[in-house]
Every structure is written in C-alpha cells, then in structure tokens.
Amino acid sequence: MFGIIDLTMAKITREDVLKLAWLSKIKLKSNEADRLVKELDEIVKYVEQINEVDVKNLDTTDQVTGLTNVMRRDETIKYQAKPGELLDNAPDKEKNQIKVKRVLQ
C-alpha cells in the first residue's frame, strides 16, 4: 500500500505528451516534454492498478452529496462585486468590454 509496484502497462510516448499539451493549450519546452514522458508513464502505470477491481456490476459515482436538481429562483440578486470591479483584472479593455486578439482570421 505504501510502495510502488510496477505491473507494467502504460507506455506513454512523446507524441502522446505533445498531443495532450496541445489539447490543454500548454506549450512545452523540449526538456519539459522529455521529462513528462517518463513521469506520466510512471504515474499512469501506477493508477492502472484499478484494473484489479471487477467493475461489471458497479455504477459510477459522480458526486457524494446525493443531491439532485438543486434549484434557485430565477431572480437577479445584489452581489458583492460591481461590474466595473469585475473588469479590473482584465489585461486589455476597451469601453467596458474585455478586448481579445482577433478570433476569426
């Protein structure tokens, strides 16, 4: 329980890592990518231990509160933050709107 047992499977490749980075909008330096291939492989091998469990008759647990359909009234409320304050953190603004780089080329 407290140690690492290598029950070899995984086999993450550099290609995998670069694709995952692209999906998560992260740009990796070459040495970062190399390091991550090894690390992700080791971690994924470890978590593959869950394959020991027979999950045939089990449902998924998405949340542990047991709550469903929690509703609230469709009303506007007086909130702590003012609209102007919400824009204070934006790196680029114009006329009370957040400015971003061109979306459509």
Binding site: M1, F2, G3, I4, I12, D16, V17, L20, A21, L23, S24, K25, I26, K27, L28, E32, R35, L36, E39, L40, E42, I43, V44, Y46, V47, E48, Q49, I50, N51, E52, V53, V55, L58, D59, T60, T61, D62, Q63, V64, T65, L67, V70, R72, Y79, Q80, A81, K82, E85, L86, D88, N89, A90, P91, I98, V100, K101, R102, V103, Q105
Partner: protein
C-alpha cells in the same frame, strides 16, 4: 514551539465582547507573531491595515453596546486560495500573481459576520497541487519543528502558522488530505468536514467532487466553533448540504465507553514508519483501557484509493484549470501573436511543473479512447470504496489509523519523484473519495521530535458524532 499562544477562541471572543480586551490588541499580537516567525515563510501576504481597521471598528461597536458575534475580534489566517477582499489572492501560483479578487468567499463572509478578522494569507502548493508546500511558486514553508523539513501540504502555510501561534485558527482546503497531512506534520488539529458542509464559493477550485474547506486549530473545541460558524447551505454553491440544526459547538455526548472504534487493517501495512505505528497503537490501547469497543475492520479496496484518486483528481483539475486562459484575469502571454498563442503562452508561463503534470494526466484520462478505461472505471472503483466504507460504519462509529505513513520528510526528498510525493496521501484520500468527515489530532512526537497525527474518520454527514469523539480522544491523548 510547545507553548500555548492563545486562550480558547470562545474565551477570546467573550473577552472582546465584554470589553475585557480589544480586538485591536488581538490583531496586533497576531501581526507581531507573524513578523517574529518570518523565517518559516508560512505567509504570502499580510493584510495589516485592513485587519487593524476592522479590529478598530469592532472595538467601537462593542463600546456602543452592539453584539458582535461568536468570533468577536478574533484574528485568523486564510490559505491563499480563499478569495478575500482588500488583499491579493494568488493560490501561490504565478498564474494568479496579478489577481485582485472582486469578491470574497462565503466562508470568509460567514466568519466576518461573527466578528472574526482575517490578518494574512497562508502559503500553499500552487493551486493546492502538492503534499509538501514545496510546489509554491513563491517560496517553501519550513516545518516549525525542524527547519530542514517540510510542513506537509498543500495547506502547509496554514498548519505552520497555527503551530507557531500566529493566529488561533487558520483555514485550509482538503482535496486529498491537504488539511490533515500538514496538520499531522506540524502537530495541530486539522479537520475535513463532510463534503458539502461548507460552501466552496470563492475558493479556488481544484477537484470539485472532493474539494472541502476546513479549520486548522490547536483544540477540537476551537475546531467545532469555527466549523459551526461556516457550515450551512449556500445558494452560491449548489453542492452544499443541510447542516445539523444544533450547534456543532454543543459537544457533550457520552463518554468513550460506548464508542465502537474500527481499526483499519490496511492502514498498518509495511512501509509505515515505526514511531507512527507505535504511537497509533498506543492511542488504540489507551482507548481500549478507557472502555471503548475497539475491533479490527477491513477496507479491502483502500490500497486502490490512491490510484483511483490520481485519476479522478487530475481529470477534474484539468477541467477546472481550463478557465485560466489569460483573457479575463490572471497572467497573460504578453508576447502572443494570435489568440491561440495568447491562451497557450499565459498557461505555459503561469503553471508550474506539478500543475502541468496534473493537467496533462487529467487530459489523458478524459481523452477519447481512454475515458472508459480510466475515468469511468475510476468512478466505479469509487463506488466500491464507498460501499465498503458504508459497510464498515454499520458496525463502528469511528474508524482510526495514522494520518500519514511518515513524519515530516526532508526538503527536496520527494520533489524529484512525483509518484513518491503522491504516496504521502495514501491514508487520507479515502475520505475525500467517499465524502466522509475526517480529522487529524496530534498524538505524540517521533524520536526526532517530529509530530505524529492520528486520523479519525466519521460517519457520512455526521460531523457532530466525529467531533464529540475527537474531543474525548484529544483529552485522552493529552491526559
């Protein structure tokens, strides 16, 4: 280090309410102890002026005869992933270094309604991703008992701050053990409530199905009081559950003689440090002598809880951290040529290696072709773990074991091996997956003088019973 720095919180508040002492004097004491202990690097930012102003306002209201609240004038420190007015909230990450929060966490609002004063923000692993506080983007916090060792994480700053007496209580978050582990390493009481008991609105999200907020203090009574002030349904957080109608501070209850305690067999495997094993066994023996009904219980799948957690947690992290796109707040890629660059550069620069690691693992287990084999399967294993835990609670009121397999390790000991670092959570993650309340209580010190914590796990949604048992057990351990 072993000194008692503060009276019980209820007494501090009464002193202020009755005019026997001023909130300003308490806040100044806190600020002084923060300065004095600067070398431990537990604090990211101090809210000196806002705290003093708040304290002065409270003192004036007291003079006018106003009733303040159950935490009247009491200073506290919040982990820097809690959004607080009048200060910065960084989550100890370069991504949020420029961020000024436009609103405040519900938990903070509730504490302030009772008169508490936030004096500082505590250090953490960036985004709470870590077990040692070494992954803070700013600096590492040092263990109050040994400056060459870690305080644990991710709420390392909060735990160290309470251990060093900087405030009577601090706030932390626990997603996989991040309150309980540093509490064990720093010799303080760390409480993880039932999932959903306290609102997470205004707290930087990590893994939404396991994230919990909780207090760090030196006594169970203080824990119960602070918990009572924060617990309750919140319209701003739809995952909050109904709280107990009675006050959690109402801790009377029967003695230890009627308590059915289950010793979790799997928590005592090979690899447990000798002193940790001896201490936990010693507490169990004392509980037997005090008349508790102690028996062994097996949580068969608990050795898989960590594997299960390190699929579910990164998956939810990768989703939660996709909001950091540098467009509305946070670090932005200033050298970006186009929109995609503007997302990517900011995230690459703002996220540290541990954060990136978790985001990538999460993306992997959720990606097409792997979702069923990893994430969906892990959610089923989670169901099995919950079933076993529920079954254990049919025969027992409380489960017991050590909080961690080891005491505080050396700085740098686990930073080169991410998986080894993850293993520090092996005994705590179970309660995060199931949602059960759990607490770490300081029990003893090892041969190097490092604190050892014992862990108690309570019934789902029955924090009252866990707190009552914890109070009695802390008395037994200290007595």
């Amino acid at each position: 280090m072993n000194g008692v720095y503060w009276k019980p919180i209820a007494e501090l508040a009464e002193d202020v309410q009755k005019g026997r002492s001023s909130s300003l004097s308490l806040v100044e004491k806190s600020l002084e102890l923060i300065k004095k202990n600067d070398e431990y690097k537990a604090i990211v930012s101090v809210l000196e002026e806002p705290a003093k102003n708040r304290a002065k306002q409270i003192d004036q209201r007291v003079k006018k005869g106003e009733k303040i609240g159950r935490l009247a004038g009491v200073p506290f420190i919040a982990k820097d992933n809690f959004l607080v007015d009048n200060g910065k909230t960084t989550a100890a990450s370069n991504m949020l270094k420029p961020f000024k929060s436009p609103y405040q966490a519900t938990a903070i609002n509730k504490l302030e309604e009772e008169g508490a004063v936030c004096v500082a923000k505590a250090n953490l692993d960036a985004y709470a991703h870590g077990s040692s506080t070494e992954h803070s983007d700013f600096f590492t916090t040092l263990n109050p008992y040994d400056k060459t060792r870690v305080p644990g994480g991710s709420s390392g700053g909060s735990a160290a701050a309470v251990a060093l007496g900087m405030a009577p209580f601090a706030l932390g978050t626990d997603t996989g053990g991040s309150i309980r582990l540093p509490s064990s390493f720093c010799g303080v009481v760390g409480y993880k409530p039932t999932y959903g008991l306290i609102s997470r609105s205004g707290v930087v999200a990590m893994a939404s199905s396991t994230d919990v907020i909780g207090p760090l203090t030196t006594t169970v009574e203080d824990t119960a009081l602070v918990l009572d002030c924060m617990a309750g349904k919140d319209e701003l957080d739809m995952t909050t559950i109904e709280r107990d109608k009675k006050s959690y501070y109402n801790l009377a209850g029967k003695g230890l003689a009627s308590l059915k305690i289950g010793v979790v067999k799997e928590f005592f495997g090979e690899g447990l440090e000798d002193d940790v094993k001896k201490t936990t066994q010693s507490v169990i023996d004392r509980l037997k002598k005090a008349g508790a009904e102690v028996s062994e219980v097996s949580l068969k799948s608990s050795p898989l809880a960590l594997a299960c957690y390190y699929i579910i947690c990164p998956a939810e992290v990768s989703s939660n951290l996709s909001r950091y796109d540098g467009q509305r707040y946070g670090h932005t890629g200033s050298q970006a040529k186009d929109l995609n660059d503007s997302y990517t550069l900011g995230r690459s620069e703002g996220f540290n290696s541990e954060v990136k690691r978790r985001v990538l693992i999460g993306t992997y287990v959720l990606s097409s072709g792997y979702y069923d084999a990893y994430y969906k399967k892990a959610q089923k294993v989670r169901t099995e773990i919950i079933k076993e835990t529920d079954a254990a609670f049919k025969e027992h009121d409380i489960l017991i074991g050590p909080t961690a397999p080891m005491t505080a390790f050396k700085l740098g000991e686990n930073t080169e091996d991410p998986l080894k670092m993850y293993l520090t959570d092996v005994l705590t993650v179970g309660s995060n997956l199931t949602g059960n309340p759990s607490i770490s209580i300081p029990a003893d010190k090892d041969k190097n003088g490092l604190p050892i914590g014992i862990q108690l796990i309570g019934r789902q949604k029955n924090d009252m019973q866990l707190l009552e048992a914890s109070k009695k057990i802390q008395e037994l351990v200290n007595g």
